[in-house]
Subunit: 455 residues, 2 copies
Amino acid sequence: MRLATLLGPDLDALKADPEALREAFEEFHPEDVAELLEDLPEAQVIELLEALPSKISADVVERLSPDRQIVVMRGLRKESAAELLTEMDPDDRADFLEELEDDEAQAFLDNLEPDVVEETQELLGWDPETAGGLMTTEFVGLPPETSCGDAIEAVRKLARQGEVETVSYIYVIGFGNKLLGVVSLRDLILADPADTLADIMTEKVVSVKPTDDQELVARVIAKYDLTAVPVVDEMDGMLGVVTVDDVVDVVIEEATEDAQMMGGVVPLEDSYFSTGLLEFIWKRGAWLIVLFLGQLLTATVMEANESVLQSTVELALFIPLIISSGGNAGSQSSTLIIRAMSLGEAKPSDWWRVFAREILIGLALGLILGTMGFGRAWFTDGAIAPESLAATVGLSIVSVVTLSTIIGSLLPMIIKKLGLDPAVSSTPFIASVVDVLGLLVYFSIAHLILRGLMG
Amino acid sequence: MRLATLLGPDLDALKADPEALREAFEEFHPEDVAELLEDLPEAQVIELLEALPSKISADVVERLSPDRQIVVMRGLRKESAAELLTEMDPDDRADFLEELEDDEAQAFLDNLEPDVVEETQELLGWDPETAGGLMTTEFVGLPPETSCGDAIEAVRKLARQGEVETVSYIYVIGFGNKLLGVVSLRDLILADPADTLADIMTEKVVSVKPTDDQELVARVIAKYDLTAVPVVDEMDGMLGVVTVDDVVDVVIEEATEDAQMMGGVVPLEDSYFSTGLLEFIWKRGAWLIVLFLGQLLTATVMEANESVLQSTVELALFIPLIISSGGNAGSQSSTLIIRAMSLGEAKPSDWWRVFAREILIGLALGLILGTMGFGRAWFTDGAIAPESLAATVGLSIVSVVTLSTIIGSLLPMIIKKLGLDPAVSSTPFIASVVDVLGLLVYFSIAHLILRGLMG
């Protein structure tokens, strides 16, 4: 049976027989069901989720977009919503409640069992973009003296109850909830059933702190090829586990957010086609207006030098070339540094090393482009001597490219140091800063070189 | 014992006792050992790898950078190299050989057992950036009639031999190597030992084709929260498995590559600080020179309009403002579309939908900025009537912003359609195209509006 058919005319027949309905849905991946429910009429979705066992409904609702989740949960009967929330993975439950106003979240919490409320509130205490915000509290934790045979039994029981998100690792927890070691399920089934967990556990456990940024968690999981990483407090007390599937989502989301910010767009909440025109106009317009206001300075600088342009119109010819070369060079260095920082390769404290490299690279690139610009200007007819114009243009390009390279690399580090996301120093932002500075440099050099000529 | 100490003075003592050496190294994660070996003198690394059991050496060498791998493998004795290659995961072995010239790779292959050679050559046949290039051939595959009890025994045996990279899933393989279903290790330990795999397997298996691009594989793994995805041929014949740890690396690498390309840099092979100055100058300079050559057209367009500028110098004042507004708007739309394509949200065949949206967004943004530009130009003193200058500037901004938005969104789709990476239509590239077009638009509008005034 195809999924679309199942949600069509057959559904009414199936709803009469809950067992058949459950079986029909178990055949499909909850992700595919969620994708379909994203676009169905609200009332139909709610009716369906009420009819399905809450375990299946929870798997589907966990995968809906935040907006859809809110609409659906508001539409369900109170008891169904409470059952469904209880069945959801704790991290998904916390993520959902995070999206609501405080009083509405509290209203949902009021209908849950005290232990579920406590579990959820612990998770809600952490910033959503940290290890604490990503972690789930459902993991297999056993005392060190457990025999491997008993441990397998325990894993079996927990997995059967659907109480744990991942069984790839068994965490060995000692006195005071302290994380002592880890045993992979693979090692567990290999071990002699009479051995204890303490005998076979790995004691050097790679772990993260709950306040660690999600990008750091992703780097740790990627580096050590883990499928889950434990989250521990300062005393090595076990708090939860971040699983690799959440981390893959984080890496993709962060890359999209960075790319959009670096392109000068306020990051979108939804996919390109699900974002409305008005939201686009606002999220792109906001930055464009700020940049435009900054760029108005270029007109001011030009106005201040109007008399120079009037007497030596040849100077105007090279303005687009010079400011764009600066923009391009600055865009390159800012992109490299922003990416290096989000990969953890560079930190603001490395500014001196970065500066030393970028000044050399900027000079080299400036000399190459400056020579080309010198040549082009030489062959321009005009009132002033070709060598003077060529020297002005060439020297300006060297200076502007070097300056832009340095600004492009240092500005993101300064912004990061101020506690902001370095990706706000987007390519258009760097280009705008560099445009204004580029004009100032160009006119200053022109004044120096052409002073004699212009009297 | 700390790892650094272990590689220091204690090493010579340990080398006398192979068993103690092995035990000492087993305590550390191979990733951490690899990180340290990255910077040690070559001879010392080779000596150490020769002394360690080849299983441990292989785990470490798999994690070295490609350059370091080559240096080390060339330095090992032939037999050690062969042993080490045999112990390496097949996908890592293939990746290493891929880095070498054909005859050198063949020389390494000549020393391996025929079955290892065959396994490796199958993997080498696939493009490294596809599912085939990422997959490993070490997975647990069992016939459908296997009982769950026997299956656990088989997993145990394979895992003990270290013959499989992942045991999270057991693939159920039927006649003609056909993939029939999948059983998670979790379901297997839950099942009644007397049940067969056919009884408990999931038949709807999410799989990929060997020719699927690695970005698609990453999207599938992320979407369905998998820790591994099987790779099958057109007849559902099982070829291998891609594991989530490789996919996390791919997602991070692709995001870095995209970001660098979009910033106008030829993607780096290494991290920012491990890339040499000359390589930087080349990888940044190449694009800067191409862009500069294109930008020379701006000087040509300006030259062609020199007489207009001479008679109406006020026109020059707004050139940086107008071309930069176009560049910024184009940079936004290209970033959004490039990212949407790499997330699979948009395809080149969606061009019409994208065009319809972007023309509206571009017009709206153009009208906002155009109005601001109109106001600024109105208050400029000069020889021409303020309303004429204001109309020229305002209308030019509306046109340039709209045009740039459309170009920024369609160009990446055209480039993708041509089979190239859309990220080559980098922000600087779009900005350069838009600079030249922007000047042409500006001067055309000026001609139309100011014709009467300039005679």
